[in-house]
């Protein structure tokens, strides 16, 4: 069946020589074409730069939405990020699409740091892999109860709670 609507979202993370992370995000769909770029500085993971463009939209006012991005400068990728970003950029006076774009960029930063940890769990015996997951959970207890793999009754969590 022919589609009536199509949306494509892409987010890429690139680490610069100085350790800063540049994150590129783009949304294109039947009505909207928007992009943004943020820079995140370790170790605090503070957003040090943010810019964006709305190239196509059904509303002419969307062209000024990227100005909202300056509000997230200084925000850190960490607890409370969703509430802070939505408060600064979302709602009836903001742009929920770009606010979500910022959050997706920040999520990509977290996943950038997660990739090497997960690569380490791919090697060894089943028991060794399980132990590496458990070490990851001990290091990052916020993952506990976050999904079925890290639920209380999961074999990966067994004995950790």
């Amino acid at each position: 069946m022919i589609l009536s609507f199509l949306r494509n979202k892409v987010v890429d993370v690139k680490q610069e020589r100085d350790g800063c992370l540049k994150v590129f995000w783009r949304l294109t769909d039947t009505f909207l074409d928007a992009s943004l770029e943020i820079e995140v500085k370790p170790p605090d993971l503070e957003i040090t730069a943010a810019s964006g463009r709305v190239l196509r939209s059904p509303h002419k006012q969307c062209g000024s939405a990227p100005q909202l991005l300056s509000r997230v400068l200084g925000v850190r990728v960490g607890p409370g990020l969703r509430k802070i970003t939505e408060g600064l950029m979302g709602g009836p006076a903001g742009c929920p699409e770009l606010a979500e774009g910022v959050l997706e960029c920040c999520n990509a930063v977290i996943l950038h740091f997660t990739v090497p940890q997960l690569q380490a769990t791919e090697k060894g015996t089943q028991e060794e892999k399980k132990e590496r997951f458990r070490a990851m959970l001990r290091f990052n207890p916020r993952l506990l109860r976050s999904c079925v793999a890290f639920a209380e009754d999961s074999p990966l969590v067994d004995g950790l709670l």
Binding site: S4, V13, D29, Q61, P92, E97, C147, V148
Partner: protein, 154 residues
Amino acid sequence: MISFSRTMLVGAEFPGEDLVRFHGMLEDRIYAMEIIMEVRLSDGVVQAIQGRMKRFTTPVCPKAVEPLQAAVGMSLKEPGWISKLNREVGRRGCQHFAEILVECGRCLEAAGMAHELLAKAKETPDADCGSLIQAFLSAHPEMAGKCMARTQEA
């Protein structure tokens, strides 16, 4: 060099006048999964859902396919629907499945608009797309006030 990359794709087709079928897909360096979800356009209630995990991190992850059924009966137009999906599908199952569902839900209004505009464009082939969109937005005041553009237009 890119160290992390993610693509999320949502397609919407209309097998019935009041039924939208979403095809949602997430692919990144760590995960790959997809869903097919049917939603009633008028009230946003999920009618059916199927999911497939293609690439994942733990042997437990495939168990997250079953909790997808918790979405059936939920309305994607009700206040708090995102939190509810994140809780029922994300925490009980897989956060990344929930992310796909939420993205599909966010596309519901736009998909309905695209469907209606395509029909209008067939009826009036000479009308320009911009004026069709503006006519649609004027005829749907419920879409006003959700962001700075819609608030100013309202």
